[in-house]
Symmetry: C2
Subunit: 572 residues, 2 copies
């Protein structure tokens, strides 16, 4: 059974608590650090540490699927339809002793044009399909390859699927390639999360022999989504002839079965960057086995195909405007377009926003606190799905910090301002003062949910990394913050965060709120655009070439910028 | 254990006799027809008929590998070397924070040219190979695909393999692609023979659900040959990057896993005719998994890639001379080039020459009678390998018929001339007069080896089919037999037959013997030529397009020609 994990089984994140009653291995040092005396007494253990030594009853928390806004406000259909898939219905002349052309030659003759190659799987079915269909068949071409032969006229059924393979969340969009209409969409938690929540845990696991496991886990997630969207839209997976996939560089490599380890160590080198086409069969994707899978290009180890898709969807670089995109997923990518140039950088800012390193942090899932208000000195927490709170989502953390800042309860340096509290919003905890969000009996977990001073420090680190990155991009182009005409917030985190909260804690540059726009899952939108049009794929390749990647770790001024950004802005 | 079979287990050929002692199913009607009373008494059964019903001891005759002359007299190296494989050793600049190009981009930069695509298997190895080799690597390109990456400088090891996949015999040639030199050759019996000796039995078996079995059997034969030639030449199979394969259309389809059934029924349509390229991995050939396998084009259902390779090796159509090629394998193909035109036809003549339908017939293997003399009224039989005789090979049958004709012991219509016999060369047998070649105690099988009147009738049918085909080709071009400047005898049968014998029984047109040339395995030579040069592959495609196929079954004059050819020529 999959269990939530952030550290990938190292015992360092403490997120895999389960109740286990029976003969078990002794508590490890890691467990002693993560479990309270009450939890230990109640039988809680870390699933990655405790070893079963006899009949044991384990209570596993239900897997909460990430709540993911997969919509995007971009009008993709208007961009023009030019899919890579062509279905042609043909009535072939019957062979005779006077016309003994081979089946394939006969097919080419009727098509009126040649194709470069044919999938062996299509060739294998050719003689039977032609004869069973009494020579009335539909040829399916992807690019210049014949990938399938179908009996009768099936031109009406031509589908494509776009995937956004995120570290945490995977989204799929089923599209009708004849009309450009979206027939369905679905999202699921990346099954790889069982091997660690963040990219670094995955890199380590892959390098330590877990590459095939991670590959299979990603593939399993994609295939589950295919199954789900197809079932709901009543489309057969074998009628999907084209897939487009975006994802960060690590996910991209893992899905291909390429060890991404060099991405994780200086100088952070991916194995490949160019766009890639391969047959679905070779990848293991359960759609038409001859279908083409197109992976958008990658810019750098931490600016992946998802960032390219972001830029594509937002039309970055299509005009001379100064526009800044921040995609906060498990990592944060910043892309600045200005006067024909496009610059990008990346920062490991995500973990704080997706629950890692936050004492009661969790991903945006039902039960996650996603918004907090402080009314009359009392904290009012809203949860996703209005369920009993289980933890604090990234948007909740930002919302809470912004509320505390606005009330003067949090200093610019991120210290709780205890003496300003009317009647005890803060209480002493095990590791310093805490803000109680839910008492044990009010929480879905039975354990108190609280915000610690350390959590704010993590938020500040993430915020500082993003701000420093943005400032270096601006510096590179010789622009000031005020020159930015538009800030686009993309990604799963961007779906939930309130832009005023983001402004108040300095997560986005200090600009008038009307210049800040949330654009939802722009990476998914970019993938859909590339699915629907070969021209867009050409644009994506051009974009990837144009994007100038700035390696922050190679910048001597990054540290200075980072330190300078280690405080919240003044509240006006 | 594989057992010789011609009919593919139908009980009609009687070739699968084994000695079996134990509880077995009762004798079938087929067995009663094929086994003599002595054989039944001695415990002989047909392996395809008898069912084991308890502990049984079975004596299985040793599998005799076909003796196959795989040499060819054509000077292939002189044709120029232009292989499809390129190995380039590169010392890549090390990556740094100032040069973060992805591995593949770095490789392309050092190569100085782009390639169209890269095998996923090569990409998967890329990061590790580059780093383990400290950035000194050899890139292996086949065509415009990167198929492999190797540590260090391995440019010296670049090999290719050519296959002639015959119905009965499979030959393999290992070539050094740097020098064009042949490093080894080997031949083996096609493992498919367990499912029937002739093409029609295979077609039936494939269509009755045995397609995968036949595919696997062909592949197993190829892989055994790879293993053998590599072991002997001390070459690693993964250093073979290109394979070229020829074979008749049925073998070609079966290897690809395509049901060849429509080839066997009017109007005899192949699934595909064009040359085909596919990765070794997809085919299941155990050489470098990214290696390219090139299948030469096919002309018609019974004029396959082997015939194209024949024509290629012999340079048919390269000048205006009137040249006739006859390739007698399991089937016979006739190709006539004259004044720029190339015409081809096919006849099911082979079975008689490979043992099928001949009472004591067998393939050219050790123990097969391959040459017969009649000295002082006594038959003197020579066997392959000078072993005790096991049966009569095709060349032995031709040799014997020619000797009988020369001595006046065989009429033009194929009747034994008994009254001309000095002292009983012919003796009455179960089904009419027979010519005893070896008594039971002189034969390796313990059973008498004899030639029957019916065997001569089969030979005459085969000869008539070939002659009728040749005459129709000549008629199409308006030429007479005497206009033929050269007759080339190719194929496994052509390796053994004496050209004077062939002339005396009319298997080749009546021409001066110096115009008749045996050219050995020309199909194998053509495959090797295509392996060594892309230009030759281009020529093969052109040849396949140029060859005008004449469907004999559609010719109203074929029967007339066939009947006219149903007698042996006069002996001068």
């Amino acid at each position: 059974m999959p269990i939530a994990s952030i550290c990938g089984g190292k015992g360092t994140c403490g997120k895999c608590k389960v109740k286990a009653i029976g003969p078990l291995s002794p508590l490890t040092a890691q467990e002693k650090g993560h479990l309270s005396a009450e939890e230990i007494a109640a039988g809680y253990r870390l699933a990655c540490q405790a070893r079963v030594q006899g009949p044991t009853v384990v209570e596993v928390p239900p897997i909460v699927e990430v709540q993911y806004k997969i919509a995007f406000p971009l009008a993709i259909a208007e961009r023009g339809l030019k899919p890579n898939v062509r279905k042609v219905y043909l009535c072939l002349p019957r062979p005779s002793l006077g016309d003994q052309r081979p089946d394939l030659t006969r097919l080419k003759g009727a098509l009126g044009f040649d194709f470069e190659a044919a999938e062996l799987t299509a060739l294998r079915r050719l003689p039977e399909v032609l004869r069973r269909a009494d020579w009335g068949v539909t040829a399916v071409l992807v690019g210049s390859r014949l990938i399938s032969m179908e009996e009768g006229d099936t031109q009406g059924e031509s589908y494509g699927i776009a995937f956004d393979l995120g570290t945490t969340t995977v989204a799929a969009y089923l599209m009708d390639l004849n009309t450009g209409q979206q027939l369905g969409a679905a999202a699921a938690t990346n099954r790889q999360t069982a091997y660690g929540d963040d990219v670094m845990s995955r890199l380590d696991h892959a390098h330590a022999g877990g590459l095939a496991e991670l590959r299979d886990a990603a593939l399993e997630t994609l295939n589950l989504l295919v199954e789900e969207v197809c079932r709901k839209a009543e489309v057969l997976p074998q009628n999907i002839y084209q897939a487009v996939l975006v994802g960060n560089t690590c996910m991209h490599h893992l899905l291909l079965g390429i060890d991404p380890y060099p991405i994780g160590v200086a100088p952070y080198i991916p194995a490949l960057g160019d766009a890639l086409d391969l047959p679905a069969r070779e990848l293991g994707l359960v759609i038409n086995e001859g279908a083409n899978v197109h992976l958008l290009p990658v810019v750098a180890g931490f600016v992946g195909a998802d960032a390219v898709a972001d830029a594509l969807a937002a039309g970055l670089g299509e005009d001379g405007r100064v526009r800044l995109m921040i995609d906060i997923g498990t990592n944060a990518e910043m892309i600045l377009s200005a006067g024909g140039r496009i610059l990008a950088c990346a920062a490991a800012a995500g973990p704080a926003f997706e629950g890692a390193r936050i004492s009661c942090g969790m991903r945006a899932a039902p039960g996650a606190i996603d918004r907090v208000e402080i009314i009359s000195g009392r904290v009012k927490a809203h949860t996703i799905g209005d369920q009993p709170p289980l933890g604090l989502a990234g948007s909740g953390l930002v919302s809470l910090a912004a509320a505390l800042r606005r009330r003067g309860l949090l200093s610019r340096r991120g210290r709780f301002v205890a003496d300003a509290t009317p009647d005890g919003l803060f209480a002493p905890g095990e590791r310093g003062p805490e803000l109680l969000l839910a008492p044990p009996d009010g929480a879905g977990t039975g354990r108190a949910i609280a915000l610690s001073q350390g959590d704010i420090a993590e938020l500040l680190l993430a915020k500082a990394a993003i701000e420093a990155g943005v400032n270096i991009l601006l510096k590179e182009t010789g622009l000031a913050v005020g020159d930015v005409e538009e800030v686009l917030i993309a990604g799963s985190f961007g779906n939930y965060v309130d832009k005023l909260d983001a402004l108040d804690i300095g997560l986005v540059p200090p600009l008038p709120p009307d210049r800040v726009v949330g654009i939802g899952n722009a990476a998914g939108a970019g993938a859909v655009l590339a699915l629907l049009s070969l021209d867009v794929r050409g644009r994506a390749r051009e974009l990837a070439r144009r994007i100038e990647y700035i390696e922050l770790s190679a910048r001597p001024d990054f540290n200075e910028e980072f330190v300078r950004a280690m405080s919240f802005p003044e509240i006006e």
